[in-house]
């Protein structure tokens, strides 16, 4: 069933997009991640121009994050104040990202940088997760109880000035690393079209020592706003948000997430992480493959203003 995308200016198969959204939603529900890092590469594999894939990916991330954050908000596992500070950094990072995005696009290097960033981040995160989860599975087989990594008392981050107390997270840290982390996530959100949960969650746990129970909610909370900001700015500066495409992905995604969450509860944590790691690595490899293999045509066309 064909549908015409008004911004991408192409006809695509509606069922494929719904299925794509559903599959990503299923995985994101299963693993508790936003799924933005899967949506953008999948759209690129489906021949959607990378500029549109990135901006539309950011739009789609809002829906899944909002859905998830609602649940955390009701349970109270969400630190508004921490999210707010992260968000301030995020808005700055995202604004810089949009400029870089437009500049790279005019140079004709956007596709390359998007692919390289994905290969680097997905490769690193996927690799680390795989090593960690394989170790955990071995330990579990060896009969030892998996020991939770105990957060250290203090690290260099706690010596920075401008300290602020975040009651819900029970931490007292400098706002500098919080703003910095927010800015990095915002920057990646605008260039890669991701929510950034896959970097935010480990950073909050290991760097800022935020209790695990508030991490996901807080991360989702701030992603909603950074993704919303990114969507509006991409739309204003580059006109690359395709709302029809985003809507199809959202519908599939929201539905898929519910089933994913149910399956996720039946699987064991380390097995789940190993599966996700393999998936992330596969996407990274596929993107890297496209960079190194001689393209079918060496020439490409870009229409519009120079």
């Amino acid at each position: 069933m064909g549908i015409y995308l008004p911004i991408a200016e192409m006809s695509v198969n509606m069922v494929v997009l719904l299925a794509m959204g559903g599959a990503v939603g299923f995985l994101s529900g299963m693993f508790g991640v936003g799924g933005g890092f899967l949506v953008t590469p999948l759209l690129i594999f489906y021949n959607i121009p990378p500029a549109i894939a990135v901006a539309t990916g950011a739009n789609q991330v809002i829906a899944s994050s909002f859905s998830g954050a609602l649940a955390h908000f009701k349970r109270g596992t969400l630190d508004m104040k921490l999210g707010g500070v992260l968000l301030t950094g995020g808005v700055v990072g995202s604004s810089i990202g949009i400029y870089v995005f437009a500049y790279l696009r005019s140079l004709g290097q956007l596709d390359l940088i998007v692919s390289l960033l994905y290969v680097a981040f997905l490769g690193a995160v996927g690799g680390l997760m795989l090593v960690e989860s394989v170790r955990a599975i071995r330990r579990a087989k060896g009969g030892q109880a998996a020991t939770l990594r105990r957060p250290g008392q203090h690290n260099w981050i706690h010596r920075l000035p401008l300290k602020m107390r975040f009651r819900a997270s029970k931490i007292f840290v400098s706002v500098i690393p919080v703003l910095g982390l927010g800015a990095i996530i915002g920057f990646l959100a605008s260039i890669m079209g991701v929510g950034g949960g896959f970097i935010m969650v480990p950073a909050l746990i290991y760097l800022l020592k935020v209790p695990t129970n508030v991490v996901i909610g807080t991360s989702l909370f701030q992603i909603i706003f950074v993704a919303a900001f990114t969507t509006v700015v991409h739309s204003t500066a580059n006109q690359t948000v395709d709302v029809v495409l985003a809507f199809l992905l959202m519908v599939g995604g929201v539905a898929g997430a519910q089933y994913g969450a149910r399956v996720g509860q039946k699987l064991r944590g380390e097995q789940l992480r190993a599966l996700l790691a393999v998936l992330v690595l596969a996407v990274a490899l596929r993107l890297a493959f496209d960079l190194f293999v001689r393209p079918a045509s060496l020439y490409s066309l870009a229409t519009g203003a120079v």
Binding site: M1, G2, I3, Y4, P6, I7, E9, M10, S11, N59, Q60, I62, A63, S64, S65, F66, S67, L70, A71, G108, Q109, D111, L112, I224, A228, T231, V232, V233, H234, S235, T236, Q239, V241, V243, V244, A246, F247, M250, V251, V254, A255, A257, Q258, L291, F292, V293, R294, P295, S297, L298, Y299, S300, L301, A302, T303, G304, A305, V306
Partner: protein
């Protein structure tokens, strides 16, 4: 002696005049579009565009011999196009060179009564800037290196042909009667929106006689058009709307599935 000679001269002049009058110089060609606008709907997967036309003051003899030929061209709106070339850098294929062309027809489809080489010579096609190989492509920078330009011009044409935007159909124009013809042009699913120009060229015995043109607007229909315009004209509000759609979808999704 003088008189008959003058008479002869007069006679020759008269004959010449008569022969001149017999030369069918006043053939004409007219075309009419079945519609002056084509709308692209949500399920648009390409369409056939039919153009009807008629020849005027045809010479019955030439017509019987089938020596009238018609070439119909549908040319898309002019756009600025950047052609980029990838080369291998550190094992990766990266865009390294580019040439900008201006006023490149976004699409160019040709329908003809028969094989192009049977209609007229390639020199004639070149002179009329007719057929995909003769589409006028000029660089934004006139100082561009000649060999680079030749390479990128060929690449631009090849990419447009590969996407089905520059196409030719021999036999796409059929005569329905001695004077009436019908041209069928295929609009690709990715046909560019905007004002297209339809032109018809008439050839007699391989000689170009006359040209006529008509405009055709291709636009997105209803909702698609509104979304596109809104995104480009009110892009800030469009962005806010996109965020709103996402939030409502996320919220509804939660409501619907929690009840199950």
């Amino acid at each position: 002696m003088l008189l008959p000679r003058a008479l002869l001269l007069l006679l020759v002049t008269a004959l010449a005049g008569k022969a001149h009058a017999q030369e069918p110089v006043d053939e004409g060609i007219q075309i009419g579009l079945s519609t002056d606008r084509v709308s692209i709907t949500a399920d648009f997967a390409g369409a056939n565009l039919t153009i009807f036309g008629a020849l005027e003051s045809v010479d019955p003899l030439i017509s019987r011999q089938g020596r009238y030929d018609v070439v119909v061209v549908l040319e898309g709106p002019p756009r600025t196009v950047v052609v980029r070339k990838k080369t291998r850098v550190l094992g990766m294929w990266i865009n390294t060179q580019s040439v900008v062309f201006r006023d490149v027809p976004a699409s160019y489809s040709v329908a003809m009564t028969r094989q192009p080489q049977d209609i007229t010579t390639s020199a004639n096609y070149r002179r009329l800037a007719l057929r995909t190989e003769n589409v006028h492509l000029q660089p934004l920078d006139p100082e561009e290196n000649a060999s680079t330009l030749a390479e990128f011009t060929a690449a631009l044409r090849a990419r447009k042909e590969a996407r089905g935007l520059y196409v030719e159909y021999a036999g796409g124009v059929q005569f329905l009667s001695r004077t009436l013809f019908r041209a069928t042009l295929r609009l690709a699913p990715n046909v560019p929106v905007g004002t297209h120009r339809a032109r018809a060229f008439l050839f007699r015995n391989g000689v170009f006689v006359e040209e006529t043109s008509a405009a055709l607007t291709i636009r997105k229909a209803g909702l698609e058009q509104r979304i596109f315009e809104y995104a480009h004209e009110e892009s800030f509000l469009y962005g806010l709307a996109a965020v709103f759609v996402a939030i409502v979808t996320g919220w509804l999704g939660r409501l619907v599935f929690r009840k199950e």
